[in-house]
């Protein structure tokens, strides 16, 4: 596919002409070079892993739900049943080039510990999550007085698996706190389009429906 060879500018994302893959998945895939060894934590039904494998990336996955795991394995993917909160400790240091946490951070019990583990197991991490600072979220709470629900996050407060929502600003703060270096950051708007990089952080935090971050271990003094 010509689409795959296309070099993308920083903060850009390939338009999904085929409609086969989600925009945030395409964006994650763009951040990872071919030949890398990757662990996708919370890999769902393996859509992202399939995309990565199609691009010559050696992908593995962990998924909490048995149904998700079995669908992945039935697609020939190397996926195991496991929990991001409890099972990442079983992986050795530097086992992977990249560890991906796609739309899963907010569902973990201990996001900070999970994030630390990601960058212990992998030399780099790619983390994406729904931005709770998105204007629609703010508006629903401010005006409606209800916990926000969107097309991408339709669950009610009492049955949502998402127990640790954060905003892009909160996440940036956490990365600073645990000395994680942010190599690349992209905010996607409601339509999966990147919010222009030239705009200031507060705009991202307001208009980004989700954030996608490429992280590495921060050195001292950085």
């Amino acid at each position: 596919m010509a689409l795959q060879e296309q070099a993308l500018p920083l903060g850009g994302v390939a338009p999904d002409r085929t409609g086969k893959y989600r925009t945030d998945h395409l964006l994650v895939a763009e951040m990872i070079p071919a030949g890398s060894k990757v662990l996708d934590v919370g890999c769902g039904d393996g859509e992202l892993l399939q995309l990565l494998e199609s691009r010559g990336i050696d992908g593995r996955g962990i998924e909490l739900s048995r149904e998700g795991v079995n669908r992945c394995v039935a697609k020939g993917l190397a996926v195991v049943q496991g929990d991001a909160d409890t099972d990442l400790v079983n992986y050795p240091d530097d086992a992977f080039d990249y560890v991906i946490l796609s739309q899963t951070l907010q569902a973990t019990r201990q996001p900070k510990a999970v994030l630390e583990n990601l960058l212990r197991i992998g030399r780099r991490a790619v983390v994406s999550f729904p931005n709770f600072g998105f204007w629609k979220m703010r508006l629903q709470l401010l005006v409606g007085g209800h916990m926000p629900r969107t097309e991408n996050l339709p669950a009610t407060w009492y049955d949502t698996p998402n127990i640790h929502f954060c905003t892009i600003k909160d996440f940036v703060q956490l990365c600073d706190e645990i000395n994680v270096k942010m190599e690349r950051a992209v905010a996607l708007d409601l339509y999966g389009r990147p919010v222009p990089l030239t705009l200031p952080w507060w705009v991202w935090n307001m208009f980004g429906e989700q954030g996608v971050f490429l992280l590495s271990r921060g050195g001292k003094g950085k």
Binding site: N70, V73, A74, G76, V79, Y91, P92, A95
Partner: protein, 397 residues
């Protein structure tokens, strides 16, 4: 008068079984005195023989061979009529044209384990030194010994690397032993419903089975062939106890409940009033027709001794260090003999070794035996795993 319950006597004469042990209805690879099997107990077993079945064709570059490792009470007759019982092969649902183990694509081998009674050398075979059945003079064998013998068979067949090793239960133990002992010879591995070591509870059930056999007066310290008897009652009881562990509470309840067998009221006797009793008796008596009591003792012992970590300084991950083999580990939710926790421990060790591993727990109420039954999700997963491994192996889509 109270009815005396009984387990029916076997219809196949022990002579047929003894004949099958030495002259099986299978292909036989003979290993002479110059090619001993080096057993873990320190004895060199020679001469010895391996009986095996094959299905499908070996391709030109010898890259499509799959070894099936059979479970405790099964044998090499995977997908053909059983020579003693005349029944269908035990894994015909899995092995054949278009099946997950597709005989149009793969060359499939299954050999009777060493210590077995269907043609590979075991306690029922004739000891060349005495001209009588080995009985308890046969050396104790282990899971690694079984695998060593299979490796010698593959050398004989000129197969350097297996495309896949697959097996459930004791077969799964052999799969794991293959990957630990000969990682470079195993491209992919599919261990099902098994563990890297036998648990205390499982050893306990095996001891129960062995004691049942040895308590039968027809056992004669294993010399029953010479006296033309067979401890069929003891072996049937062992099988009945074992069979319960292969099922689950839910499966037994669904299949039998408290239903009566051909009667509406209890007989106030020890006859098989309940269907579940009748079923177990049938399982017991049909098993003794095709299985040797001493073999049962030896093979259960081999499983008891199995502990991969113990052979690697107590650290399981050490056994799989740097391994390139692709794994697909499968367990079943209602399997209490080899519960999912055992498979999970294996998966953690494989992860720690950075092995490429898939792990699926399949929801079923059919217990340990689910791997032998019609469980479509298991077939889908096995098929997909083999297909993706086949792609990586260059076997074509």
């Amino acid at each position: 008068m109270t009815n005396v319950p009984s387990i029916s006597s076997p219809s196949i004469h022990s002579v047929d079984r003894a004949h099958e042990a030495d002259h099986p209805t299978s292909t036989v690879a003979e290993f002479g005195k110059d090619q001993p099997l080096k057993l873990d107990c320190g004895i060199d077993l020679a001469p010895f023989q391996i009986a095996y079945q094959t299905y499908g064709e070996l391709n030109a570059d010898r890259s499509n061979a799959i070894l099936i490792c059979h479970a405790l009470t099964l044998d090499q007759h995977v997908a053909n009529l059983h020579p003693l019982t005349g029944k269908a092969g035990w894994w015909e649902i899995m092995v054949g044209p278009g099946r997950p183990l597709d005989t149009d694509r793969y060359f499939i081998i299954c050999s009777n384990v060493i210590g077995g009674c269907m043609g590979s050398t075991g306690p029922a075979s004739t000891n060349p030194a005495t001209g009588k059945a080995w009985g308890l003079d046969f050396p104790l064998i282990t899971i690694p010994d079984m695998v060593r013998a299979q490796a010698m068979l593959l050398d004989r067949l000129g197969i350097e690397t297996l495309f896949c090793v697959i097996g459930g239960s004791m077969g799964g133990m052999q799969v794991l032993q293959w990957t630990a002992a000969y990682p470079e010879r195993v491209f992919s591995a599919l261990p099902v419903a098994c563990a890297t070591r036998h648990s205390a509870q499982n050893i306990a059930f095996h001891e129960l089975g062995r004691q049942a056999v040895m308590a039968d007066p027809d056992w004669h310290h294993g010399r029953y062939f010479e006296l033309n008897t067979h401890p069929h009652r003891g072996l049937a009881v062992a099988r009945m106890a074992g069979h319960i562990t292969y099922l689950s509470d839910a499966a037994l309840h669904r299949k039998f409940g408290r239903r009566m067998q051909d009667r509406e009221l209890p007989t106030f006797s020890f006859d098989a009033d309940f269907q579940v009793e009748s079923y177990l008796r049938y399982q017991g008596s049909s098993f003794v027709e095709r299985f040797d009591a001493n073999s049962y003792l030896y093979l259960t012992r081999a499983m008891d001794y199995f502990d991969i970590a113990a052979d690697h300084d107590g650290v399981l991950a050490q056994a799989f260090r740097g391994i390139k083999t692709r794994f697909c580990v499968v367990s079943f939710t209602s399997d209490w003999l080899f519960p999912t926790s055992e498979s999970r421990a294996l998966v953690h060790a494989l992860n720690a070794s950075s092995a490429r591993v898939s792990f699926a727990e399949i929801e079923t109420d059919r217990g340990h035996d689910a791997f032998l039954l019609d469980v479509p999700e298991f077939f889908d997963i096995s098929r997909a795993f083999l297909q993706s491994a086949g792609k990586a192996r260059g076997l074509g889509g």
